[in-house]
């Protein structure tokens, strides 16, 4: 798929999804670098958070991302047998399998959670994973179902308006103070 489609899709319905990506440093992050050096254009909806290994990724990250207004998440790392730390991704695979299944049971559309293996040499695959995730989540619409869980006072529920702007720095400041 090409980003042309995305923009047209964007035009179709005004909604642009926000997607948080948790990727491992050695394969997918480097693969995304390669996509850059190869100038592979892709949708701009994804924000990458770099981690050493998929083994480091805790389901809580994903839950938190949803809480903070992400419409979808991507989790990506080294292919089996390619893990820089030899077995981190195998353990991650089990953790995510269980998480994926239970979330689906609870009623979260699995298309909001993209899991993939993208190696350092698969810039193009990363492009496709990103575009595909964006198209899927765009089709699903905003994750209001999750945001609706937010307590009235917290500002993050609605696509971050000024409320968020004040709420979150305060929060972070508190975190530091404590």
């Amino acid at each position: 798929m090409s980003d042309a489609i995305d923009t047209s899709g964007a035009a179709a319905n005004g909604f642009e999804p926000r997607i948080t990506a948790f990727v491992c440093n050695w394969c997918t992050y480097t693969g995304a670098d390669l996509a850059g050096t190869s100038r592979l254009h892709m949708a701009s909806n994804v924000r990458i958070i770099r981690l050493p290994c998929t083994g480091r990724i805790d389901p809580l990250f994903i839950i938190k991302a949803f809480e903070r207004g992400a419409d979808g998440v991507i989790v990506s790392g080294c292919h089996p047998a390619d893990c820089h730390y030899t077995t981190g991704n195998y353990h991650a695979r089990r953790r995510f399998a269980v998480f994926h299944d239970i979330m689906e049971f609870i009623g979260v559309d699995p298309r909001r959670m993209t899991f993939s293996w993208v190696s350092a040499s698969e810039g193009a695959k990363w492009r496709d994973v990103v575009n595909e995730a964006v198209t899927n989540v765009r089709a699903l619409g905003p994750f209001d179902a999750y945001r609706a869980l937010a307590p009235e006072d917290a500002g993050v529920a609605t696509p971050a308006g000024p409320a968020a702007e004040v709420a979150t720095p305060a929060a972070t400041a508190k975190a530091e103070a404590s």
Binding site: P59, Y90, H91, A97, V98, I102, F105, W117, L149, S178
Partner: protein, 293 residues
């Protein structure tokens, strides 16, 4: 029953153990009892009202129990699985406890009765149906005569899970958000769980505060998912969390779903064999990964 009392008496008198933790009859059904005096062993009972999983008292964090000295514990099959869980996670030393296993034919769902009653498909605890460990193996003594299979409840947990699974995503989401929104974050589910033995629960970690502590739907969702995930491949299906939940969240459905997941993906069923490694923390090169692109 006499068998149990006899054994308890000898264990206490010959000093093998300092305390026997079992069940006693009380006005409103059975309740846990700590017997330290051989004379009191006649208090001990075991019948269909003995639903409590006493293994929760073995939690090393409960040092007030530890202070009593070496423990003799009465366990049903499901309880024995919990003991195995604690051994698996180095929370116990086998030699520090004496396990008195009782052959179990299932327990009541509503156990708060003055008298024990026979099990029927109306009153049986659904989780007992199809129990694979009605004669605990991981025990020092096994008491009671062989029991018949528990009756089939009107609707088994698997059927309820299946029914829920059959409904569309939105309805499932609606169902669970409604259930979880009832949660008052009393953490009874955690306190009673024989395997929730952390010194400091992740829910109480404040830097960072992964799980919002106030009882609103978002924090509750996060807490309940996390609780469930932490028990993936560990839950022994003793049903205590659901029984204790003051607002009646059907936690057994989530727990059972997790059991089905690990069974289906890693063909793992929790047993009372501590040598049998838990599925999370283990892996196979050919684990299913159909959900990964």
């Amino acid at each position: 029953m006499n068998e149990l009392r006899e054994l308890a008496r000898t264990l206490l008198t010959d000093g093998t153990v300092r305390v026997i933790i079992g069940w006693e009859a009380a006005r409103r059904g059975a309740r846990p009892v700590f017997v330290t005096d051989p004379a009191d062993t006649d208090k001990l009972i075991f019948d269909t009202r003995c639903v409590h999983n006493l293994v929760t008292y073995l939690n090393p964090r409960r040092d007030n129990v530890a202070e009593l000295g070496k423990i003799g514990l009465v366990v049903k099959g499901c309880d024995a699985k919990a003991v195995a869980g604690l051994l698996r996670e180095a929370q116990l030393t086998r030699d520090d406890i004496v396990l008195i296993g009782v052959r179990c034919g299932g327990v009541l769902e509503e156990a708060e009765l003055p008298e024990a009653v026979a099990l029927s498909s109306e009153n049986v605890a659904p989780r007992c149906y199809g129990c694979d460990n009605r004669e605990p193996k991981l025990v020092d003594h096994l008491l009671g005569e062989a029991q018949p299979d528990p009756p089939r409840p009107i609707m088994t947990i698997d059927e309820r899970v299946a029914a829920l699974d059959a409904r569309p995503l939105e309805e499932r989401w609606a169902f669970w958000t409604e259930q979880f929104s009832k949660c008052v974050r009393c953490y009874a589910c955690r306190q009673v769980c024989p395997l929730c033995v952390c010194e400091r629960c992740v829910a109480e970690k404040s830097r960072p505060q992964w799980i919002e502590s106030s009882a609103h739907p978002r924090g509750n969702m996060s807490w309940n998912i996390t609780r469930a995930l932490h028990l993936a491949g560990r839950c022994v299906d003793c049903g205590e969390c659901e029984r204790f939940c003051p607002v009646g969240i059907p936690l057994s459905l989530v727990n059972r779903k997790l059991q089905q997941i690990v069974a289906e993906r890693y063909d793992y069923t929790v047993s009372d064999d501590p040598e049998n490694p838990a599925p999370i923390g283990d892996y196979r090169l050919d684990d299913k990964q159909e959900f990964i692109k």
